[in-house]
């Protein structure tokens, strides 16, 4: 779907290598590709313009010719620029000297406010606080019930009143005070930033409860409009920061950049899954890579270079290509790959991983089991699994603390896998696709 910026640059920079220097037009071409990548990532067009201008100023003066890999050089510069915008000062939560610390949640409909409120409550609990959740979304049917269920899961109490959201919010804060809670989180109904009546309502909630923190909840999938709504909310509520949700999808999340840039408030938290614990403080550098469509490739390369043994990895790949990859090789590779961290995490950072694998339930305990089984085999057995008969199977099962059935499953599945790899010719250098529609774009003149 999206070409990574790398693909797009390769073409341009191959010309650089021939001529040694980029012409004005070629610099433009590079910047155009950056612009395209950012727009496809949903960064607001206006913000893109500002960024591209800055990147031009930063890269044009530099002598790209001397750099070993100009493409990498430019990408690093772009990456640094985005990280700078996304980062800036981060949000530090300080607690009110006279508790409770009051937190207000606001945002458009369907962005995930209610879930984020519960997640935030759990986060506060993990910080040793005892929050109270207040359900002031009296608009959407069953919103308070939803908050109630989530509060139960988070081990937090909830307060709500039927009727008026402003009254409910005020009463909720009172209740937190009465109960001696140190944090109170007020969930509000989703509203459009151009709905004057509802914006006045949330403004009224805010002025009545005087929150210490006001978070705008923003969906990572949102497009160009993100800046309009964020601006309006910021004008009405003077936001403390943003909570970015649904980052477990594959949206590039350029809106984070736009909102940060336009509203100037930090992105405080990121929500990365449906479980309440899938919530963490925000990392600007990871987000920059994601926006550029590079997964977390940059840090992954560094990690791979640090942890993988080049010889061993290349040997393994060669055997794979030759269709000679046996259990011995598998064990060796597995031990290497394991050093990079939890498999699931590594896979999720990589672009290009088939989604069947990326989303598969990878249980690290399974990995340990597989390793134990293969380790209990002799070298000969690993090279020739056919020789593993009933008695050998029992020995391996005992040695690895598993069952003969597990050993059998592994052998069979590995064999299937080998067959499949052979039939697919897996392991050959991956063909790099160039998107055809980009070709004619390059000819065009854009600012």
């Amino acid at each position: 779907m999206f070409d990574s910026l790398t693909d797009r640059f390769d073409d341009i920079f191959s010309r650089l290598r021939k001529k040694g220097r980029l012409s004005e037009a070629e610099v433009d071409a590079v910047l155009r590709e950056i612009r395209a990548a950012l727009i496809e990532a949903d960064v607001n067009v206006g913000v893109v313009r500002t960024l591209v201008e800055r990147i031009r100023q930063e890269t044009v003066g530099e002598d790209l010719q001397r750099s070993l890999s100009p493409s990498q050089h430019v990408i690093k510069a772009v990456n640094a620029e985005l990280t700078k915008v996304l980062g800036g000062e981060s949000l530090k939560i300080t607690y009110a000297s006279r508790p409770p610390t009051i937190v207000l949640m606001a945002g458009l409909q369907g962005v995930g406010k209610t879930t984020a409120a519960a997640k935030l409550a759990l986060w506060f609990r993990h910080q040793g606080r005892s929050p109270l959740l207040v359900g002031a979304d009296l608009q959407r049917p069953a919103a308070v019930e939803q908050l109630g269920v989530l509060a139960g899961q988070a081990g937090v109490d909830i307060f709500s009143l039927p009727g008026d959201p402003v009254t409910t919010a005020i009463a909720g804060v009172e209740e937190a005070r009465r109960l001696g809670r140190d944090v109170v989180i007020v969930d509000t109904a989703g509203r459009l930033s151009i709905d004057e009546e509802l914006m006045q309502e949330v403004e009224k909630i805010s002025s009545s409860i005087q929150p210490n923190y006001t978070f705008l909840v923003v969906d990572a999938m949102v497009g160009q409009d993100a800046v309009n709504s964020a601006k309006s909310f910021n004008e009405r509520l003077s936001l403390s920061g943003v909570i970015l949700t649904k980052l477990d999808g594959d949206s590039r999340g350029g809106a984070a950049l736009s909102v940060r840039h336009v509203v100037g408030k930090p992105i405080a938290f990121a929500s990365t899954g449906e479980k309440l614990a899938d919530f963490d403080i925000f990392y600007p550098d990871r987000m920059a890579n994601r926006i550029l469509g590079m997964g977390d490739v940059l840090s992954l390369i560094e990690q791979a270079e640090r942890t993988l043994d080049k010889e061993v990895t290349e040997k393994g790949a060669k055997k794979l290509r030759g269709g000679k990859f046996d259990l011995e090789d598998f064990l060796e590779q597995m031990q290497q790959v394991k050093k990079m961290g939890p498999l699931k995490g590594v896979l999720s950072m990589l672009p290009g991983v088939p989604k069947e694998i990326r989303n598969a339930d990878i249980d690290e305990r399974e990995l340990a089991k597989v390793e134990a089984i293969i380790s209990s085999m002799t070298r000969k057995e690993r090279a020739n699994p056919e020789m593993i008969d009933g008695s050998r199977r029992l020995r391996i099962a005992n040695g690895s603390g598993t069952s003969t059935a597990a050993v059998g499953t592994l052998l069979k599945q590995f064999k299937d896998m080998q067959k499949m790899m052979r039939s697919m010719g897996v392991g050959g250098p991956s063909p790099t696709k160039k998107a055809p529609n980009r070709a004619n774009n390059k000819k065009k003149k854009r600012r």
Binding site: M1, E40, P141, A142, Q146, V337, G352, N441
Partner: protein
């Protein structure tokens, strides 16, 4: 164990690619997931008849889309007004036009296609006044729509089943409430199937809508198998002579393998006798950016979409991504959500939508609205 085995092998391949690449001193090129071909959209069975022509009178009058979204237009810049006044179009105005389309979330490649097409048409006609240019753009946008039936389809044999799908929070449940009210106004007997057994209080929310629209509901306990809820609803509909089952589903990100598998199963169940699955509607939030196209692609692959409901057009977002979905995947936009009340669902009209994308009523330059402060 399969996932573990496969994962290790994938990592070996990718790991070695790093090193191969590093040798050529470039960033790694990673193997890409092969683009899957887009499943064809279901064409309506000839035995199905259209009975939803009363939809129009029950709902909106012409111009309602524009009226419903009138608020949103003030945020847009006055590029069209500017063009109308201008006697010829210079590069800067073309660029602003391009920004206008980009700001609607139409996406880069379609935007460029539209602009290039319009430029060519203008060059050919040799008329370069503002009106001619706007016409050219309109014409190009028209070309992006598919020639498809946009009315909701009922089966000739009851019960008809409509399945509503989409990512989290886009407005599936609300749209079902609205559809139910539409169908009731059409004289249909409706059952809602609370197929979202995952999200907290989802069934309660749907029940609220069932009560509000005097339809029935079939629900189960939290965590129950959604297929069995839909199955039960269809059984009940068949035995008690209901016309229509509208099935809610849990919001799911298209990247979640297991949930997409669950959806495939749900679709199979919904299409089993005595049910007649006539619509599988993707709900798309107008604020969605370019990810919407990936969503639609994945959902159509899993569930063979028959149409799109574009929600939240009453906000400041333009919903251009829905047009991208229609143009790229051939899935027609059928209905538009313009608010939170039962009657805020109106038939989609391409011409009105084009106006919405282009028409503006405030001074200013596209792109100025963001980023320069």
């Amino acid at each position: 164990m399969i996932p573990v085995l496969a994962a290790v092998i994938v990592l070996v391949i990718i790991g070695s690619t790093f090193f191969l690449r590093a040798r050529r001193s470039k960033l790694p090129q990673l193997p890409k997931t092969p683009e899957k071909s887009v499943a064809e959209t279901v064409s309506a069975d000839s035995s199905l008849d259209m009975v939803s022509d009363r939809l129009d009178e029950a709902q909106a009058e012409p111009g309602d889309l524009v009226r419903g979204t009138i608020k949103s237009r003030s945020v847009f810049s006055n590029i069209i007004g500017k063009i109308r006044k201008s006697s010829s179009l210079d590069q800067q105005l073309w660029d602003e036009l391009e920004d206008t389309l980009l700001l609607s979330d139409l996406g880069l490649s379609l935007t460029e296609r539209v602009i290039e097409g319009a430029k060519a048409a203008v060059a050919k006609s040799q008329k370069t006044d503002g009106a001619a240019i706007i016409d050219a753009i309109r014409e190009q946008l028209r070309l992006l729509f598919v020639d498809a039936e946009r009315e909701l389809i009922y089966s000739g044999v009851t019960p008809t089943v409509w399945l509503i799908v989409g990512v989290n929070g886009v407005g599936k449940t609300t749209s079902i409430g609205k559809l139910s009210s539409l169908a009731a106004a059409d004289g249909k007997k409706v059952i809602l199937a609370a197929g979202d057994t995952f999200r907290a209080a989802a069934a309660d929310q749907l029940q609220g809508w069932a009560e509000r629209t005097s339809s029935d509901i079939v629900r189960s306990v939290p965590g129950a198998d959604p297929s069995s809820v839909v199955f039960d609803a269809i059984q009940k509909a068949a035995s008690r002579n209901y016309d229509l089952v509208i099935a809610d589903t849990a919001g799911r990100l298209h990247t979640k393998f297991n949930l997409m598998e669950e959806l495939k199963k749900l679709r199979r169940i919904a299409d089993k006798e005595p049910g007649h699955l006539c619509e599988v509607l993707l709900v798309l939030d107008a604020t969605t950016g370019q990810n919407g196209l990936i969503q639609a692609r994945e959902f159509t692959q899993a569930a063979n979409l028959t149409g799109v409901i574009l929600t939240k057009l009453d906000g400041s977002a333009k919903g251009g991504i829905a047009l991208a979905v229609e143009a790229e995947l051939g899935v027609p936009i059928k209905l538009v959500g313009v608010g939170e009340r039962a009657r805020d669902l109106i038939p989609f009209d391409p011409e009105e939508f084009i106006s919405l994308l282009l028409d503006v009523d405030q001074d200013g330059v596209a792109g100025k609205l963001a980023g320069d402060n």
